[in-house]
C-alpha cells in the first residue's frame, strides 16, 4: 500500500496520541497521500472528541449518596470496618460467614445485632431499583414468608399514622440464622428499616437502647422471642417516637 508501510494499528495510535513523535510525522506524510485513510482518521478523532464531550459532564456531577457510602464504611475504625466488611460479605450471600464470626459474649451479641441492623440499613436503604425483595403490595405474602423463614409469627407495624408507608421487606442472613428486614418510607423518600430476628432474647425484655453508626441511628430492644432494631438517618427523638409506636403495636 505504501513504502512507509503504515499499519492500521498505527493509525489508531496516531489518533490516540500514542505514537512516538518521529513516527507521527511519517504517518502524517502517509495520510497526506491517502485521502481515504485520512478521512477515517479524522472520523475516529471526532469520535473521541464527541464521546468526551458527551460523557465528561458526568465528572462534574455531585455523587449520589449510594455511591459515596462504601467509602464511608471504609473510613470506619478498624473494628467497625471489619464488621462492615464482614457484613457486606454476609449480606452478599457469600459463604463462609462462620469463619468470620465474632464469638462475642452474650451481652455484646445485642450490640453486634444493632451494628448488623445499621449495616443492613446502609446497604439497602439507598437502593433505588431493588430496595426490597417483596413489596408492600404483597404484604400478606411477605409476612407469611418471613414468619416461616425466621420461625416465628411476625407482625408488621402500621406506621402510616406517623407518615411512614411500608415499602416491603427482605430476608437476610443474621449472626445465627435468618433475619427479616422491613422497610418504610415517608413522603420525602426518607427510609427507615426494622430489622427483626428470632432468638437472642431468652424470653426477657430489654429496654430501648440507642446506637449510632455512620450517621445511622438505631434503637434496638428485645421483646419476648424477638430482637428488634429500628434504623434511620433521622434525628434521635423522631426515631424514638417511631420505635415506641412499633413497640406498642407489636405488644397490644
Amino acid at each position: 500500500m505504501s513504502a512507509l508501510a503504515v499499519i492500521e494499528a498505527e493509525l489508531h495510535a496516531y489518533v490516540d496520541g500514542l505514537l512516538p513523535q518521529a513516527r507521527r510525522t511519517e504517518v502524517e506524510a502517509y495520510l497526506a497521500a491517502h485521502a481515504e485513510d485520512a478521512q477515517r482518521v479524522r472520523a475516529w478523532r471526532e469520535q473521541n472528541q464527541a464521546l468526551r464531550d458527551l460523557f465528561d459532564p458526568v465528572l462534574a456531577e455531585s455523587l449520589p449518596a449510594r455511591v459515596r457510602r462504601p467509602d464511608l464504611t471504609h473510613r470506619m475504625r478498624p473494628v467497625l470496618r471489619y464488621a462492615a466488611v464482614a457484613g457486606w460479605l454476609a449480606l452478599g450471600g457469600v459463604a463462609g460467614w462462620n469463619l468470620h464470626d465474632y464469638n462475642v459474649a452474650k451481652s455484646a451479641d445485642t450490640v453486634a445485632f444493632a451494628h448488623r441492623a445499621a449495616i443492613a440499613h446502609i446497604v439497602y436503604s439507598p437502593e433505588v431499583r431493588h430496595p426490597v425483595e417483596v413489596g408492600a403490595d404483597q404484604e400478606a405474602h411477605l409476612v407469611a414468608w418471613l414468619s416461616k423463614r425466621i420461625g416465628g409469627s411476625l407482625k408488621v407495624p402500621q406506621l402510616a399514622p406517623l407518615g411512614y408507608q411500608l415499602v416491603g421487606g427482605r430476608l437476610l442472613p443474621g449472626n445465627s440464622g435468618p433475619v427479616a428486614q422491613f422497610m418504610f418510607q415517608d413522603g420525602g423518600g426518607q427510609r427507615l428499616t426494622l430489622y427483626v430476628r428470632n432468638g437472642g432474647g431468652d424470653g426477657k425484655e430489654m429496654a430501648f437502647r440507642y446506637a449510632q453508626e455512620r450517621g445511622v441511628s438505631v434503637f434496638y430492644w428485645i421483646d419476648g422471642r424477638f430482637g428488634y432494631a429500628l434504623s434511620g438517618e433521622i434525628d434521635k427523638s423522631e426515631l424514638l417516637r417511631v420505635a415506641r409506636a412499633v413497640y406498642q403495636q407489636l405488644n397490644p
Binding site: 492500521e8 494499528a9 489508531h12 495510535a13 490516540d16 500514542l18 481515504e36 478521512q39 477515517r40 479524522r42 472520523a43 475516529w44 471526532e46 469520535q47 473521541n48 464527541a50 464521546l51 468526551r52 464531550d53 458527551l54 460523557f55 465528561d56 458526568v58 465528572l59 462534574a60 456531577e61 455523587l63 449520589p64 449510594r66 455511591v67 459515596r68 457510602r69 462504601p70 467509602d71 464504611t73 471504609h74 473510613r75 466488611v85 457486606w88 460479605l89 452478599g92 439507598p126 433505588v128 431499583r129
Partner: protein, 169 residues
C-alpha cells in the same frame, strides 16, 4: 490511610463516567459503580500499594459488568445485526456528530468493542492499560478498537450513505 481513601474517592467520578457511557443508563450505571465499590472495599487488601489504583478499580468494574451482563439477559444491550435499520439515524453530509445519534449508535456497538473504545477514547488509557483492565491481549484490544470505530462510523453515517465508506471486518 487517609491518602488511600482520597485516592479511592478520586476515581469515583471517572468510574461513573465510564459506567454511564457503557450502559447508557444513569440508574444502571450507578448500580454498577455501587457494586464495583462494594467489591473494591471487600477486596481492598488485595490491592498492591504503589500499583495503579485506577486500573485496579476499572478492572473490578469490568469484572462486575461482565458478570452482570452474563447474569441478566434482560439487561444486555444486544448488538444488532449490521443490516438492522436505524430509524433514528440520519445521514449527514458533514462528519459532525449529533449527541442523540452518538448515544444511540454507541449502544449498538457490541459490548466488548464498546469497552475498548471507551477506555481508550474517553478514559484515555494506553492500549496496554486497556488490555490489563480487560484481561485480553493487546492485539485483541487493537482489533476490537478498530471494529468499534468503523462500526460507529458506519452507524453515524446512516449506513453506507457514502461510497467512500470502507468496510472493515
Amino acid at each position: 490511610m487517609d491518602g488511600r481513601d482520597r485516592d479511592f474517592v478520586q476515581h469515583i467520578p471517572r468510574l461513573r463516567r465510564y459506567a454511564r457511557a457503557l450502559t447508557g443508563d444513569r440508574g444502571r450505571a450507578d448500580d454498577l459503580v455501587q457494586d464495583t465499590l462494594e467489591r473494591a472495599l471487600v477486596k481492598f487488601h488485595l490491592w498492591q500499594p504503589g500499583s495503579d489504583l485506577r486500573a485496579w478499580m476499572f478492572t473490578i468494574m469490568h469484572n462486575v459488568y461482565v458478570n452482570q451482563v452474563r447474569a441478566s439477559a434482560a439487561a444486555v444491550n444486544i448488538a444488532l445485526d449490521d443490516d438492522t435499520a436505524l430509524p433514528t439515524m440520519r445521514a449527514t453530509q458533514s462528519d459532525r456528530l449529533e449527541v442523540r445519534d452518538l448515544q444511540v449508535a454507541l449502544l449498538r456497538v457490541p459490548e466488548e468493542q464498546r469497552e475498548v473504545l471507551l477506555l481508550v477514547g474517553v478514559e484515555q488509557m494506553t492500549y496496554e492499560e486497556a488490555a490489563g483492565v480487560l484481561g485480553i491481549p493487546i492485539g485483541t484490544v487493537m482489533s476490537r478498537l478498530s471494529r468499534a470505530r468503523e462500526r460507529l462510523r458506519a452507524l453515524l453515517a446512516g449506513g453506507a450513505a457514502h461510497s467512500a465508506l470502507k468496510v472493515v471486518k
